[in-house]
């Protein structure tokens, strides 16, 4: 998940999420960066409104519960 966390960090700090910035953050955390995963992340995030994605409750819950007990 570290790639997504990097993106979320940048997002919540209101910084641009670019290959560069994601790589920087991962680097600084001591992560051995896999360029293709960074590229894939950026490309996946392209056109996604993060705020909206997080809020759209529809998604996450779908899977979750059951586990309840």
């Amino acid at each position: 998940m570290e790639y997504v966390y990097a993106a979320m960090l940048l997002h919540s700090a209101e910084k641009d999420i670019t290959e560069e910035s994601v790589k920087n953050v991962l680097d600084s955390a001591g992560v051995e960066v896999d360029e293709s995963r960074v590229k894939a992340l950026i490309s996946a995030l392209d056109g996604v409104d993060i705020e909206e994605a997080i809020e759209s409750a529809e998604i996450a819950p779908t899977t979750a519960p059951a586990t309840e007990t």
Binding site: M1, V4, A7, M8, R37, A40, A44, I54, A60, T62
Partner: protein, 287 residues
């Protein structure tokens, strides 16, 4: 004041007024109608929390005067008044007084302190003339299988109505004790402030709700401001994880943690499409 004023009165007044000065909280209560024996019990129940002083109203007034208590306070002395001396705050004092109230059977001429209701169900009474008396008193009684039973719930006296002798007798036969016996608080005086009992009623539920709300709102602020505390760090971690998973899911970021959900979701979607395509595709594959 004349020289005829009995010595005991002077002593009584000075004793009362010094108790007034020594106490944080003074209460005025009405003890009218409380039998001596029960008054004794109440005194015992209050021991350690409040002292009850019964005296003549005039003496109580003089004592309050001498102790320099606000004029206003004296107006609560009427009927058969007594003073309470306490170091417990007025709210708690009021609560203790309420808690010490007991129930007693009604006597002819008593006023119903609240609606008096009989409840549906069996009674301990033996069939006999009592049945007619119950009915005469307005209690819906009947014989059922050799027992006297009450047919239905019924309010037999409304609050404020006088209870007649027959009903009083019947209620006591049924074991219903409608009369509240206890000190009736008229007012307290504390730090120069006079409280009437209505002001002293505390809704603990309401405070409990406030406690809960204060806690929840504080948690919310801590989380929203992402200011971690012992109580909220776990929730902040969860929020970070949850939001990240949501984003990953929504944006289809292909990371193992998220991919599992995406696959599971893809399967679900394909499954539901299959089922809307008919049994042919529902039963599916491999053949």
């Amino acid at each position: 004041m004349t020289e005829n004023v009995a010595e005991w009165k002077k002593n009584e007044v000075s004793e009362i007024s010094s108790k007034i000065r020594e106490s944080d909280v003074i209460g005025i209560v009405d003890i009218e109608g409380i039998p001596a024996r029960q008054l004794q019990e109440m005194r015992a129940n209050l021991r350690g929390k409040a002292d009850l002083k019964v005296s003549r109203n005039t003496l109580l007034r003089i004592a309050l005067n001498e102790a320099g208590v606000d004029e206003e306070f004296k107006k609560y002395i009427k009927d058969q008044a007594a003073l309470l001396f306490s170091d417990i705050n007025s709210f708690e004092l009021n609560r203790i007084i309420e808690e010490n109230k007991t129930r007693a059977p009604a006597s002819a001429g008593d006023i119903a302190p609240s609606d008096i209701e009989v409840e549906e169900g069996p009674t301990q009474l033996q069939p006999g003339p009592v049945l007619g008396d119950l009915q005469k008193a307005g209690i819906p009684a009947e014989i059922d299988g050799g027992d006297v039973v009450i047919k239905e719930n019924k309010v037999v006296k409304e609050e404020g109505e006088e209870i007649d002798a027959l009903l009083a007798d019947m209620l006591s036969k049924l074991g219903i004790e409608p009369i509240e016996v206890g000190l009736e608080l008229k007012a307290t005086q504390e730090d120069g402030v006079i409280f009437e009992p209505e002001a002293l009623e505390i809704d603990e539920e309401e405070y409990r709700d406030k406690v809960v709300r204060a806690y929840q709102d504080t948690l919310k602020l801590s989380i929203e401001a992402s200011y971690p505390t012992e109580e909220t760090i776990g929730k902040l971690i969860q929020k970070a994880k949850t939001d990240s998973v949501k984003l990953g899911y929504e944006a289809e970021v292909l990371e193992p943690d998220i991919l599992k959900d995406i696959i599971s979701d893809a399967k679900k979607k394909a499954g539901s499409l299959a089922s809307s395509l008919g049994s042919d595709f529902e039963t599916n594959e491999n053949e």
